[in-house]
């Protein structure tokens, strides 16, 4: 499928098509990346960017279309390398060990690693990205910008002809991402090419030569980077922003000078009927604020109070960020996963009311359109999006006054995304307060009435969504 071109461009994707369960997520998409280019791949969530990247990296097979690569350095067949947002580095190892992770081990004698040779190569790799650090430095001592450069150094050492930066700048400060992209520029100036998947339009206009924008799985625009305001218009026109009008009620959650290990002080109010979005890089300890508001962190100071709304009982329910590790009850079925939070509420003298439990579970399965629609299906047999729906249903069955949703729409397809947005609209309409936390600004902007920016475990500003643009938040605050 991937063939090698003997002339320009560095990467040519033609007519790429992908369906998931009858839904077309990528429809005849083209992408042409020239040598020497930094090419931005843009689009709202669900537009098909991540599907395209996953096909390029081989995670998904495509249903149609071709991917062609130009020749790389010294006439060798080119290949793609990826730097993902999670970087794929190990904190407990040194920079040198990280650089050698996953690369071919070149033993000097039988079974013995060539440490001296490794050190020399590591120093060379670091020099290519102007990172003047000792290769023996533990990775954990580096900042996120430097770590990202280590990840880039690793793919450069791998002789890539095209580097794909998949949201790799999302967690960086503006200064760090400029540093990173100027190093990438050196790579493209030397004949390489780069694809930058990002939400940050400012860095696109500053660093990218060309732009391809996707909407609903199709290419909306491709060409030389247009001015910032045009990018904005194109992007926002693609986002259906039909948020339900909200009726804001009384304050339901109030944190006052709340601190816990690595978090706070947090001062914030969440009202019934509104969605407060919190956004920040992974390094900001964002999710810990969610756990703190939901009462799952031991406070070292201050207070977190949940008031009782109509029909509630003073409870905040959390949908955690790591579905598999923190959400799912492995080995149990959908029903047990839905009912775990509400068994006590509905019990009589400590006995579970089986009929009620089954009826509640069936109702959530139906309302959230969980597929397959069988309450006795093993939870791990469901797709990620359907598992997420089950966790949302679990929270709802708890009759909470406040929902704390960490990354509610991460890694789900557009159909599930719509179902989850509707869920949020519905619980707001019913008077509950909602906090949505995400490292992805789009995910937060799509549902929030107010947006707070999180840095170093604190909420440093909260703004009404109507009076702020994504770039205001990304470029001036992060």
């Amino acid at each position: 499928m991937t063939t090698v071109l003997h002339d320009e461009p560095a990467l040519r994707v033609s007519g790429l098509t992908k369906q998931f369960g009858g839904v077309t997520v990528l429809s005849a998409a083209d992408l042409r990346v020239e040598r020497g280019q930094i090419h931005a791949l843009l689009g709202a969530n669900g537009a098909g960017k991540s599907t395209l990247v996953k096909i390029l990296s081989g995670v998904h097979p495509s249903d149609g279309g071709t991917i062609e690569l130009g020749l790389g350095e010294a006439g060798k067949p080119g290949h793609l390398s990826f730097v993902h947002q999670d970087l794929g580095l190990v904190d407990d190892l040194t920079v040198r060990e990280n650089l050698n992770l996953g690369t071919t081990v070149r033993p000097r004698r039988i079974g013995m690693l060539d440490h001296r040779g490794e050190r020399i190569r590591a120093a060379e790799s670091l020099a290519r990205v102007d990172l003047g650090i000792d290769p023996e430095t533990p990775l954990s001592e580096l900042g996120l910008g430097a770590k990202t450069l280590v990840a880039v150094a690793r793919v450069l050492a791998d002789d890539a002809s095209v580097i794909v930066l998949d949201e790799a700048t999302a967690a960086l400060t503006r200064r760090e991402s400029s540093w990173l992209l100027s190093e990438i520029r050196k790579f493209t100036d030397a004949g390489g090419a780069a694809v930058l998947v990002t939400h940050r339009l400012q860095e696109v206009t500053e660093h990218c030569d060309a732009v391809t924008m996707l909407r609903d799985g199709q290419v909306l625009f491709t060409g030389a980077t247009p001015p910032l305001h045009e990018l904005h218009e194109m992007l926002s026109a693609g986002v259906p922003h039909a948020k339900a009008a909200r009726k804001v009620g009384p304050v339901l959650a109030r944190a006052t000078g709340a601190t816990a290990l690595g978090v706070g002080p947090v001062d914030v109010e969440v009202r019934g009927g509104e969605v407060l979005g919190l956004v920040g890089p992974l390094s900001s300890n964002l999710y810990a604020i969610g756990h703190l508001l939901a009462g799952h962190l031991a406070l070292t100071g201050g207070t977190v109070a949940i008031s009782t709304s109509e029909g509630g009982h003073g409870v905040a329910a959390i949908v955690p960020e790591d579905r598999r590790a923190q959400g799912l009850l492995h080995g149990l079925d959908v029903r047990a996963n839905l009912s775990v939070s509400s068994l006590g509420l509905r019990a009589r003298l400590g006995f579970v009311r089986g009929a009620q439990e089954a009826a509640d579970a069936d109702e959530q399965v139906r309302l959230l359109n969980v597929q397959p629609a069988k309450a006795d299906y093993p939870i791990l047999g469901l797709s990620g999006g359907n598992q997420q729906k089950v966790l949302m249903g679990r929270a709802k069955l708890r009759d909470p006054d406040v929902y704390v949703l960490c990354e509610p729409t991460r890694g789900v397809d557009i159909g599930t995304r719509r179902a989850l947005y509707k869920f949020i609209d519905d619980v707001c309409a019913a008077g509950a307060g909602v906090v949505v936390l995400s490292i992805d600004l789009d995910d937060v902007m799509a549902v929030s009435d107010r947006v707070g920016v999180v840095q170093d475990g604190r909420i440093i500003s909260v703004t009404d969504i109507d009076s702020v643009s994504p770039d205001d938040i990304l470029e001036h605050v992060l």
Partner: protein
């Protein structure tokens, strides 16, 4: 299309169901027809048939069946005891020694100290619950690995047994009431089997139909998730250890009633058949999920097979080897079933 495939899931391997709501990146595994669970039962049945063919109908008789069940009633209690902690994701190695202590205490307090039987049983049950409490607190508060904590506590319990009994078997002065309770029959079935029947009903109800039991399952399935879902996981774990302690103590009373003597060396040897039963039970009746019913059924499967080994005239040393083989085989099968049903590996 998807509905049709889903309906098929118990009868034949089929393609993964798809639907509009299924997105990218989801890993979906489909439950399939499980020959393996039946294979285990078939293995036991085949063994029973072979022994019957060699030894004649005496082995397969009703009398022999009830005798084996009666002789193993206490094993069913210990096996049920360790199953509760396994359900809650923990491990209790002190249940065996605790059975020994409770048998010695019941015999000693009534015959040597002259306490009334009812008070004695109450004391023994409290001791069992307290040992469970200590285990639970060591695991949840002191954050000790359950294996280490209960190994240490079990050792201490065994030590107390030796101190109290001086290592001497207690066989005289045991209240007739208790001996009757271990030997009488009701409707042609000896009382210890009835006790197991009661245990079965109560344990089933608690595990399946109470908030407590369901929270044990949740805590065992994923403690972090259970905590975030509002389950008081630490409290559930402590209560699970206490329930294990209670049942292990009851097992001691049952064995004393049936045998009429309390042997201070009794107990630790019962851990092997108990865990073998728990794991075998989890692999024959469900996809690697521990169930009290499965454990109790498996206890008697193993016991009847062991009786078959005796009937064949094999040396008593073969029995623990057999039990060990069953444990290893069952754990391997459980791990495999869980992996295939998409669950986590066996936490043990």
């Amino acid at each position: 299309m998807s509905e049709q495939l889903v309906k098929d899931d118990q009868s034949a391997p089929a393609a993964t169901p798809t639907s509009a709501a299924d997105g990218p990146g989801g890993s979906r595994k489909k439950p399939r027809f499980r020959i393996e669970g039946y294979a285990t039962i078939l293995f036991f049945v085949a063994f029973f048939v072979i022994v019957t063919i060699i030894e004649g109908s005496g082995y397969a008789s009703w009398d022999n069946l009830t005798l084996v069940m009666s002789q193993n009633a206490h094993v069913a209690f210990v096996a049920a005891a360790v199953t509760i902690t396994l359900i809650a994701g923990q491990f209790d190695l002190s249940a065996g020694p605790l059975l020994g202590l409770s048998a010695i205490l019941t015999g000693g307090l009534t015959s040597i100290q002259g306490l009334p039987l009812s008070l004695t049983i109450l004391i023994v049950l409290v001791v069992g619950a307290v040992v469970g409490l200590v285990n639970g607190l060591l695991v949840t508060r002191a954050n000790l690995n359950a294996f280490i904590a209960t190994l240490a506590v079990g050792g201490a319990v065994g030590g107390v047994t030796t101190l109290y009994s001086n290592g001497v078997v207690i066989y005289s002065g045991i209240p007739q009431q208790l001996l009757d309770a271990g030997t009488y029959e009701l409707a042609g079935i000896s009382l210890p089997i009835w006790y197991v029947g009661i245990l079965l009903v109560v344990a089933y109800a608690v595990a399946r139909h109470t908030v407590l039991g369901r929270h044990w399952y949740a805590s065992g399935a994923n403690p972090d998730a259970a905590r975030l879902a509002g389950v008081k996981v630490d409290r559930m774990i402590v209560l699970a250890f206490m329930a294990t302690g209670l049942l292990a103590s009851l097992a001691g009373v049952v064995i004393l009633a049936r045998m009429g003597s309390a042997d201070p060396t009794l107990g630790p040897d019962l851990l092997l058949p108990a865990f073998a039963a728990a794991f075998l039970g989890s692999s024959i009746l469900s996809d690697g999920k521990f169930t009290l019913v499965g454990t109790i059924v498996a206890t008697f499967l193993i016991a009847f097979a062991a009786a078959g080994l005796d009937a064949l005239g094999l040396s008593p040393g073969v029995k623990p080897i057999f039990n060990g083989a069953v444990l290893v085989g069952a754990v391997a099968l459980t791990a495999w079933l869980r992996k295939r049903s998409g669950g986590v590996g066996v936490r043990a």
